[in-house]
Symmetry: C4
Subunit: 274 residues, 4 copies
């Protein structure tokens, strides 16, 4: 029993030397995630009404598979040292980010009967079903690097966001003040202006609302130039963050490196001696 648990754990959480067979299980789960996202997307199309039954079967099958996967992961959690043994280890695992995402990927399906007849609740549940796309995060090591760099610079990234929001609030209020008389409908209130502000400052620019007075255009021009400058902040922050993280990794590698020896006399050589 214990050896079976270990074997299943190794299949579900392969280390760096994953066997071909373990890689195939990974690939299968990735494909099932993508298929299940596609099923949710297709179900919403009026053209797919004829295929509704097939899609529902596929959806159910995938959710049952993910449920099995979740239960197996929970059962085998104590095999990983960091969670500890027994039910306490399982509870600790169940509270980890990835386990919560796994749970969120299956729960909405079982809550479907609750939505009976209520279209809004039904659609909200559909959204939560899509959370399963985040399950992909487990299968790509590079996410950990991205997340670590974002975490490293989180304070400055939040500060940039606050600056952008301040700019949006101030620019929108100014535009509201000068454009309200010219376009009382488009700039009916400051919240309506905030929609213009966010669409303009992020350079989306749908063109549903835009200033028409000279003063409004001058204010819009200056604030959009400022906002383009502000949006250069996260790029700069992340660039220096990636450099720092890579320097750290290299330093860690060098520390762990085995002693270097002269290939001629066999004596160990310090880096500074060369």
């Amino acid at each position: 029993m214990a050896s079976l648990r270990r074997k299943i754990h190794e299949i579900l959480e392969p280390g760096e030397q994953a066997s071909t067979w373990e890689r195939w299980v990974d690939a299968l789960v990735i494909v099932l995630i993508l298929v299940s996202v596609a099923v949710v997307v297709l179900e919403s199309m009026p053209e797919m009404v004829a295929w509704d039954a097939a899609l529902k079967v596929a959806e159910a099958g995938i959710v049952y598979f993910f449920t099995l996967e979740y239960l197996l992961r929970l059962w085998t959690a104590p095999e990983a040292r960091r969670y500890g043994a027994g039910w306490r280890g399982r509870l600790r695992y169940a509270c980890s980010t990835m386990a919560l995402i796994d749970l969120a990927a299956i729960v909405p399906f079982y809550l479907d009967p609750l939505a009976a007849g209520n279209a809004v609740v039904f659609r909200l549940l559909r959204i939560f079903r899509l959370i399963r796309v985040l399950k992909l995060g487990r299968y790509h090591d590079s996410f950990s690097m991205l997340i670590r760099v974002v975490h490293l610079r989180r304070a400055e990234l939040v500060a940039s966001l606050v600056l952008v929001l301040c700019l949006v609030v101030i620019a929108s209020t100014m535009i509201y003040a000068v454009e309200h008389d010219a376009q009382p409908k488009a700039f009916a209130s400051i919240p309506a202006s905030l929609w213009w502000g966010i669409v303009t400052m992020t350079t989306v620019g749908y063109g549903d609302v835009y200033p028409v007075t000279a003063a409004g255009r001058v204010i819009a021009g200056i604030s959009v130039l400022l906002s383009v400058g502000l949006f250069a902040l996260p790029a700069g922050l992340l660039a220096s963050g990636f450099s720092e993280e890579l320097d750290r990794r290299r330093a860690r590698k060098q520390e762990g490196a085995k002693e270097r020896c002269c290939p001629h006399c066999g004596k160990p050589i310090e880096e500074e001696e060369l």
Copy 2:
């Protein structure tokens, strides 16, 4: 009295070892700033007319609180060494950026009676009331890093801005020359073209004005490609700025760790002495 002043000063300007109680005061002020911004925004909505009295009371309460905060900060300013003692210290504090922002956050409220009946002055005062959003700057250490890096690269950032403006002016004039005959209304004059220029070069692209002639489209295509390249300049500048600033911080930390000594006489040497 002096010990009360010190206590209030410590609550208002907590150092790095802020107590839980001091953190709660900080959090309260942040919430009040956000609430007061929300109040100004909601007041502008025609749907909120029924709540107008309540919003006015909330606004008044918050401004009275901020006024008290401003006066307490002014009174306790001499506790901070850098401003110096007595009224000269208070005056010096009152001229600091944060104190001026605090003042700008409360003054518009007291000027409201002046706007009696004049809608434009009234709306302008409302804008200035929103300046209080900048009070948030005090509560986030990361702003200081962002500001220092922008300051470090200010000359190059201004130069990039001048380049962008030159491109906008030249591209807009060329578009005016070739599109004026085809769209005499949209490109009525160079200032009107400048609106097209700024909206296009920042890639907002509302779609209210765009070239329709072949020559105009070629000019627009080339200049928008150039402008996208130019907007890569601030991102690059800030990236190298953040790297430099972080190197400095690390160097300063390392210096503070091991004292430097003269190799001849063995006495410790300050960095400035060399």
Copy 3:
């Protein structure tokens, strides 16, 4: 014969010390690529019907030239050491990226008769004819640097792309849920919402579909701010990638400059020996 083959090889694949004559051949090929792209573009214009015969002749001439170039490159491939001698060397060359692009640049022309009368197939072939624009890649050393850096960061770039796609899928589904009732035509299904999602998250913002309800605008605002932050990831990744690649180049240069010797026995040591 062998010396002729070497001469042609040198003309087609000049090393770092290219003669003026070899540079002229390069320039001729670049011009022909650009002309042939222009020919494909012009052929599609209804105004150019009168010139159709001339364009067809130009097209045929250029394709014959490229065919000759392809055959000569194939014949002289064994001159390059890395492919090896004889037909095995030629086969290995034929499977290289650049050789496949060269083949793709000429094949569509010879398949034209197959499209006889079928407008869609005809237009698809025209697209493939444009692949020849990629032949330019051979003539610019800097592409190799760009490609190497993208390759160096490919895992993180793919991870960023997956994050962007997750955001697009989740934001589009949420918008579909809240906007479907207000705009049943524009947000008819999740796939239709995905079009809104991709156009908004990349900040293109055509303005053909946009949310009109308050909830939809809040969701759109938050997700577009997140996506602008996500799009800062590739810029940051590539910035640190270029720095790393340049450091490597400099290190390789310095290594080649001064021989390293063992400090004990004085003998020179190769980097790989340590």
Copy 4:
């Protein structure tokens, strides 16, 4: 005479220790450049017809001043060592970038009579008059840094541009193939599609043309994601370029630094000894 020439040269080309008086001349020229740009812009406004005479006088006055400045710079050019003495020095100066910009800033004014009655030539001359905005480049040291970094990475920047153009050409042709039947007017030919391509790939997105078929939207979505990734290349290139340039400057500074001495015993200290 020679001493007068030197004095004028010092006023026009102040070194690093510019006197207050020399700075005022600089500021005057910057103001005149901005005023003359404003004059050209205002002249194009139909509302300014009443002020036409005044604007023409201002324009003439400024051009006469710039002409005097150009002639004085030409006369005093031999004072700068790098151009050499006599007329050969003047000729060499006249061929420098800044001198050509100065010339281009005044020539269009004197060519105005040639445009007599021809509106198109008249407007083209007006564009060239705006070139004087580039005269600002002389007055900001930071431009030299931006230009040097762009020059340092010019090969890679050009390669990025070629990649973007390849993507635009291929995406536009594909969209033309799939959208031509659905929107024969908007996607009338490949050149018309190229307009869509450039507006979409740079994320301007006016909304005057956009795909409506499912295939077209898939192609557009994929290519716009790719293009956003490609536009991260210049930001990354410039970021690493600025870091490199700053490292160089620091290295140059350290090399030129004066010997450091121990403040206690006065003996010189090598950096490595500390």
